[in-house]
Structures are given as structure tokens and as C-alpha cells.
Symmetry: C2
Subunit: 459 residues, 2 copies
């Protein structure tokens, strides 16, 4: 047993320190079911323990990889066998809910869905929402600045966080657990830890901003004839529903057909249409909100910009509509399938997708390209299944997706981050001076390059 | 003529470099009308010129103080006679408005009100709004993370900025002019320049996030019997008007009486009430929005939680209601008057104000304490006029206001920032480790301590 591990056991106790043998029954991540390997996995119970173990690792020059719910899409949690895993799995408490100040104070390992449910019990809502809600953690959501299906109304994780506590590489605790909407007393340090993918500190606790629960909820799945109709409906919904519009999730026809193929989801609407959209509205005026929602759909159906629509009659029916959007196993079961998450101005989307589809079908005649998008946020997800093999495959597919982006001022990552997977493409979206400044920050906060080394960029 | 000034003239031309003699007819700031003094004042026209002059100043070890509209409340723009002023006054263009992407690209010296008016011409709105709108600049708003009267709905400047271009102390241009709602490709560098009061870089250009213009507008000034009624009305307005509620500005009775004293504003309501509130709602459903607004007021008048109300019948009448809230010259004409900007949870506000008022009247029997607040944001502004003299006066008044704050987890600055004026109180709201990390950032980005030295903290 090495000296490092002895010291760590002194702080965390035996069940706080799992050996490589003990973790080999765990999977690497949501996306990779091969057995987890690492030098050791640490399970601290408190910020003080996180601070103590980081100070020890710092003293010994060990590299530490932080693990949340392991649902991240860019390989940020990959570990090599000489590295230490710091898992937040035992720091999952919802510590406090303040219904008057509308805040929740949670440990970073708390599961998103647990938080959503606990605050709902107080008549409040935490509006971040995404398909991985049952596994992803608040710390992971902070570190990746997660987006999801309600960004159109409530913004990204950055907009929903009031305070953050984080531990720096050397064990220093930065407790910026602000509870107020406004605090301009000095630099807003929490911003450093939001979206920096665990490279600048380990997030241990978070103050979340809650909303009043809405009283009205209206959902529809609609089918549309073309992309112009998709944009037209979005624009109408925004001007007529205003801020009530909380989700506008677009599925390209091929995506819809793949996930509703026989043996997968039952198709709620015919499988023949070019586009499908789930739109959802929440507000505080039950009667009038539904009226406005229905009037909008009615009019758009009559004018032909919407060609078919289904409204769920129960919460169960609503869930099955959302499952079509959120559960894409019918696609990812075909391996390799590469997932992309780009952003670009909405007016270029249709042209961009056509260029990618053409490039894919030229390079891989058997390949598929399935697209869905939070289009109001300028965000598209592409699943590309080349149905081919080759050592250069991933790089070649990346190139089909990312190369055209610069013509539209797009970004190689809207919400998933850079991780290890996209770092070769970082300079495609950011200037050399920007990347240099990122490295300046990393060196200032983690000079030993100890936390998540190789994530976002190599030093 | 010194060597530095010769070099600067080579870059900016003669009219870009004003000597100390040429600037002495200017006032120091909105708050201080004494003649401006400095080594030299620079008026660059472009980011490239800003970069060139900073590189020159860097090479010569000159300290540079950045000037926007000079309306900041914490003495961030104070200059000593050996320092260089960099003024953004000639970089005031609105470069581009994109009605589809809903963005405006502006130079940092653009005046807030100009931007509001130009985007309104495209049926859009830029929702930051504050009393200094006619003089303050977008760069100043970014650097101070300005708040104002619409934060309850639209957030602070940080929430309204998509991209920032800034020049570092050595002249390096960081162009993070992102136009998209979502971009997680690497660290979000713009956050460094928002709210850091010009200590980390000079902001040169900004991409602003615009909103659709609303179609309904309802405003009222109401009088209330006590603070409980103020909180009750806020809560009712939030649940019944939802996100339409865009302003809820509270004036304590003494404030209202001071600004409506004979010779100042005509009082729109009797001057006898304990509290006054301006509430405003904006939405997209003209007919129904006004109905809901009036129904709320009607019901609260009947129940007695609102005791009197006035609704403006024209835009001119609306402006005079707002003038009561925004023009406080009747108070600041008595010098010295000290302005404070604290935040604390709303449930402690009443008690906090009583403690401050008691402390003030005990120390200065002739003193006045006038209060107004963006209370939904947890933000109070206090004007304290001791009607007394003494060298320790400012420090003693500060102490009355800031000392009780720590009992409520409050902040010494909600929106104005720290500047030079509050730096002695920074550690009252932030831990030593936090302040240390702020200094680490400052040293990483501006090792020579060249930009706004002595603002926020001393190195
Ligand atoms: C089905 C599915 C749907 C998804 N939909 C969306 C979506 O709509 N929008 C979206 O944005 N994302 C989406 N994701 C991606 C993912 O869920 C998010 O990135 C999520 O925020 C990751 O949280 P996690 O706890 O699983 O983090 P992990 O995967 O464990 O970690 C992600 C990164 O953050 C770091 N990290 C984790 N916890 C901490 C911590 N406490 N301190 C410091 N660093 C930490 C890790 O080292 C890693 O680099 C989806 C994923 C899946 C599987
Ligand atoms: C009547 C009145 C009402 C006000 N109401 C509010 C309110 O409701 N909410 C609120 O938040 N504030 C309010 N303020 C304060 C003030 O208007 C804001 O702080 C505003 O954002 C300052 O903008 P400015 O251009 O005047 O900045 P300045 O006063 O010129 O500068 C402020 C600070 O920012 C720095 N700075 C300025 N421009 C740049 C730049 N381009 N790059 C880097 N640093 C820069 C300066 O060095 C200084 O430290 C009010 C002020 C007045 C006079």
C-alpha cells in the first residue's frame, strides 16, 4: 500500500478510499461501460475532507480527476491508472431550502432530479432540466454550465447559481456561498468554477436560485412541413406566449423516424413529416394560458404551417411525448455513433445541416445523420453513425461537422463543453489570445496542473 | 513635453491626447464638480488604438484610469496628477443591430440611453435601465455589472451581455465577441471583465442581448401602510403578474417626503404614508395584461393593503412618477450626504433599517436617513445626511450602515461595486481566501498593477 493511500485513509477512513480492485465492477461512465480503472477512488463526506485530501494529493504531485454523475458527453472524466478519482457521491445532501429567499443550498453530489423534486415539495421550481436528470449532479451541472430544455426561458446553469463553494488544487477553500440576487462586492469568483469543467477547482456546495412553481402547463407535439415553418412557429410562440414559452425542442424527421422505429417508441404522430417540435408553456394564469396556447396552435393548423398536432391528456402521455425527444437509445445502439453539440445563428441552421448531411453521405454512403435542437438557443445536437470503420473515422466525422461552422461564426460546443474529446477543435471557436488567457488562469489557480489535467486544453 | 506623451500623440494624433491644461475645464465626475486633473487624457477611436496606447503605457510603467460616463458611485474614476486617463468618449458607436439574432454590437463608450433608443427603433428592447441612463456608458455598465430598475425581471448587466472585447494591461486584445446564447467552448472569459471595475482590462466592444419589445405597459404609484404590506403586494404581484412584473421600486416615507418637499417634485400622492411603491408590468397581451394589473390593484385597495394609488394617464405623467424615484437632488443638495447600496435578504430589511436609523439618530441628532430599494432583488439604497461635520464622519457613518449587515449575511455592495470608496469594507462581505483569490487574478492579468490601481483592493 503506497504512502499516499495511507495518508488518504487517515482522513477518509477505509470506506472513503476504494482501491483499484474495489472499483473495477463500476462502469467508466454513462457512455462507456468498460470497467473503471484508477489508482484509487476517494469518497469524501464534507468540504473539509475534500480540502484535506486535495492538500495531500498536492503535496505528492498526484493528478486528481473529479467524478459527478458521469453523464458528461465530452470525456471529461476519463482516468488513467496512475490518477486519483475524487467522487462527490457521498456529498449529495440537499442541505437547506429557503422558500422566502427562494434558494436551495445543496452539496455538489446531489442529483438534479432529487433537487427538482425536493424543491417542488415547497411549491418552488428549479428550472434546469435535461435528459440525464436522474443521474447528473449539481456539481457536474455547474462545472459544465449545463443547458437543457428550459434555456429558452430560464437560461443555463450559470444563470441559476447564486453561490458556489469550491476547493482549489492546494486545498484552499473558496466559499462564495452568496444567497443574494445582487452582490457586487469584489470579483464574482463563482464564475471561475462555472463551465470550467473541473480544471480550476472542485465544486463542493452550491446555492441555487429557485422560481415559484407555475400553475399552468401546456404541452404539444406538432408536425411541420419545412424549416421555415419551424422558425415561423417559434416566432409566433415567442410573441404570443411571451416568457411563458419554456421549451421549443425540434426533431428533424430522420431523428423522429429512428427513435419511433418498430420496437422503440410508439409514434405519437405519423412518421412521414419533415419536422417535429415539442413546445411547452408554463405560466400563472391557468385559464387564459391554455386558451392562448390552443388559439396559437389552432391558427397555425388552419394556416397550414402546422400540419398535425397531439396534446397529451395526462402526465403519462406527456412523459411519452418527451421520451421520444429524450431517449435516443435506438440511435446510439449502433456503434460508433458520434454526438455533437454545436451552436450557430438560427438563420444559418438549415444550410449548415444540409452541408453536413451532404458531406456525411459522400464520405459514408451507408451513414446516418440525425439532428435535434434547442433551436431558439441556436443549439443543434447531431448524431452521426457512419456505419463504417477505420482509425481516422472519428477525426473525419468531426471535420465534417466542425469545418463548415466557421463560415457561420458558430461554436464547437454549445453546452457539453470541450473535455478531452474536443480540445483539438477549441481554437476553431476561440482565438489564440483567448486560449492563452485560459491557460494564464489555469496556471494562476492550479500551477501544478493537478486538477483534471488535459481537460479543455493541454498546458 | 515628456517622452510618453510624444509616443501617445504618434498613435492618437493631437486631438486624441489632451494635456492637463486642456482638461481642467472638465468636472471630475457626476458627483464631484471640482476640475479634473491628470498627467494626460487619451481619446482613442478604436480597439487597435486602445491596444497601442496601453502597450506604450505598459512599457513606461504608467498607471491608467479608465473613464466611461463618470456616473459610478464608488469613486472608481479618481485620478492623481501623475496618472493617465483613458476615456472611451470617442468610441461610442452602435455598430450593428441584428433583429433576427436579437443582438446589438456596440463600442464601450456608447451611452446607455442611445442604445435603448436605437434598438427600440427595431422593435426590440435592451432592458438594462437606471437613473443615469443619459450619461452612463455600456463599458461602465459592464465594468460595474450595473443593476437598476428592471433586475427583477431581466437580471443585471452580466445577464444581458453575450460577448465582450477587452484589452489587457500589456495591450493584448481579447476578443470574446460571442453572439450566441450558448457557447461552452472553453472558459467564459467575458465574466472576468464584468463587474471587475476596470481592474483586469479595458472593455472596448460589447455584444448585448436584446429582447422583443413588449406591447403592454402598466404603471402605478401606490401608498402602503407598513412594510408587511409592501412584502405582501410584492408577493401578490409576482404570483399574479408572473414574469410581466418588471419593476417594483420601494420608497420609504421619509425619502418620498424629502423629494416632494415644496420647491421639488409635485407629490402625486399625499405625503403622509409610511411607504410608496412604483410597480410596472410589461407583456405581450395588451388587453388581458392591463385587466390583470388593475384587478390586482383593485383587490389590494379593497383589502386595505394598498391605501392609495395613482395611474399615469400619459407618458408625461408616467415620467413624472418615475422622476420622484430617480431624481434625488433634493437630498444630495445637502452635503455631505453619503449614498449606500447594500443587499440583504428581504425578511431582515425592516429590522436592519430600524437599526441603522436608530444608530444615525443617536450619533447625529440632526441627521436624516432616507431609504429606497429594489427590494425584490434584496437591494436597498440609503442616503445618510448627518447634518454634522468632523474628519471621522464618513467612517463613522459607514460603520452605522455596514456593521449590522454581517448579522444578516448582507453585502456592502449590491450594484455599485467597491471602487476606492468601499475597499476598507470588502472583507466585511468576503472571506480572506476570496480576497486572496481576487488578488491572484489581478496579478495574473495585470502583474504591473497598471489598470485602475487601488480600485477594489490594494495589492
Ligand atoms: C441522456 C443525456 C442527455 C443530456 N442532455 C443534456 C442537455 O440537454 N444539456 C446539457 O447541457 N447536457 C446534457 N447532457 C450532458 C450531461 O448530462 C451534463 O453535462 C451534466 O451537467 C454532467 O453532470 P455529471 O454530474 O454527470 O458530470 P460528470 O459527467 O461526472 O462530469 C462532467 C465534467 O465536470 C467535472 N465535474 C463533475 N463534478 C464536478 C465537481 N463537483 N467539481 C468540479 N468538477 C466536476 C468532471 O470532472 C467532468 O469534467 C446529457 C447527457 C445525457 C447522458
Ligand atoms: C442618478 C444615478 C442613478 C444610478 N442608478 C444606478 C442603479 O440603479 N443601478 C446601478 O447599478 N448603478 C446606478 N448608478 C451608478 C452608475 O450609473 C453605474 O455604475 C454605471 O454602470 C457606471 O457607468 P459609467 O459609464 O458612468 O462608468 P464610470 O463611472 O465612468 O466608471 C465606473 C467604473 O468602471 C470603470 N470603467 C468605465 N468604463 C470602462 C471600460 N470601458 N472598461 C473598463 N473599465 C471601465 C471605471 O474605471 C470605474 O472604475 C447610478 C448613478 C447615478 C448618477
Amino acid at each position: 500500500m503506497d504512502d499516499l493511500i495511507n495518508k488518504l485513509r487517515e482522513v477518509l477512513g477505509d470506506d472513503g478510499v476504494l482501491s483499484s480492485g474495489e472499483i473495477s465492477s463500476r462502469a467508466c461512465s454513462y457512455w462507456d461501460s468498460s470497467p473503471l480503472r484508477a489508482r484509487v477512488l476517494l469518497r469524501p463526506r464534507s468540504t473539509a475532507e475534500v480540502s484535506a485530501v486535495l492538500a495531500i494529493c498536492h503535496g505528492q504531485g498526484a493528478h486528481v480527476i473529479t467524478h459527478g454523475g458521469l453523464t458528461g458527453c465530452v470525456n471529461g472524466v476519463e482516468v488513467s491508472s496512475d490518477q486519483v478519482i475524487l467522487s462527490l457521491e457521498r456529498m449529495n445532501a440537499v442541505e437547506d431550502i429557503d422558500p422566502i429567499g427562494r434558494t436551495a443550498t445543496v452539496q455538489a453530489g446531489a442529483i438534479l432530479q432529487t433537487v427538482q423534486e425536493e424543491v417542488a415539495g415547497h411549491g418552488l421550481a428549479f428550472p434546469l432540466d435535461l435528459g440525464a436528470r436522474g443521474s447528473c449532479t449539481i456539481g457536474g451541472n455547474v462545472s459544465t454550465n449545463a443547458g437543457g430544455i428550459n434555456v429558452i426561458r430560464h437560461g443555463m446553469m450559470r444563470d441559476l447559481v447564486l453561490g458556489v463553494e469550491a476547493v482549489l488544487a492546494d486545498g484552499t477553500v473558496i466559499s462564495a456561498m452568496n444567497q443574494m440576487l445582487k452582490n457586487n462586492a469584489g470579483y464574482d469568483l463563482k464564475q471561475l468554477f462555472i463551465g470550467s469543467e473541473g480544471t480550476l477547482g472542485v465544486v463542493t456546495r452550491v446555492v441555487l436560485r429557485l422560481r415559484r412553481a407555475s400553475t399552468s402547463l401546456d404541452t404539444a407535439l406538432v408536425a411541420l412541413p419545412d424549416f421555415a415553418a419551424v422558425c415561423h412557429l417559434l416566432s409566433q410562440a415567442q410573441s404570443e406566449l411571451g416568457d411563458n414559452l419554456c421549451a421549443y425542442e425540434v426533431m428533424w424527421g430522420d431523428y423522429y423516424r429512428a427513435v419511433t422505429a418498430p420496437g422503440w417508441h410508439r409514434p405519437p404522430l405519423d412518421r412521414i413529416h419533415p419536422f417535429y417540435v415539442i413546445l411547452e408553456s408554463r405560466g400563472v394564469d391557468v385559464e387564459r394560458d391554455s386558451e392562448r396556447f390552443l388559439a396559437l396552435l389552432q391558427r397555425e393548423l388552419e394556416s397550414g404551417s402546422v400540419v398535425d398536432a397531439v396534446l397529451p391528456k395526462s402526465e403519462a402521455e406527456r412523459t411519452s411525448l418527451w421520451n421520444v425527444r429524450e431517449d435516443f437509445e435506438a440511435i446510439t445502439i449502433h456503434q460508433p455513433t458520434f454526438l455533437y453539440d454545436v451552436s450557430l445563428p438560427i438563420r444559418h441552421m438549415q444550410e449548415y445541416i444540409e452541408r453536413v448531411q451532404t458531406a456525411v453521405s459522400q464520405s459514408w454512403p451507408e451513414g446516418c445523420c440525425q439532428v435535434l435542437g434547442h433551436i431558439a438557443d441556436g443549439n443543434l445536437h447531431l448524431f452521426i453513425t457512419p456505419n463504417a470503420a477505420g482509425s481516422q473515422l472519428h477525426v473525419d466525422v468531426d471535420s465534417c461537422v466542425y469545418s463548415p461552422l466557421s463560415d457561420y461564426g458558430g461554436s464547437v460546443s454549445a453546452e457539453h463543453g470541450i473535455g478531452r474529446e474536443k480540445k483539438g477543435w477549441l481554437e476553431h471557436s476561440r482565438s489564440a489570445a483567448e486560449v492563452q488567457l485560459m491557460k494564464t488562469l489555469k496556471r494562476a489557480l492550479d500551477p501544478a496542473n493537478m486538477l483534471n489535467p488535459g481537460v479543455v486544453f493541454d498546458l
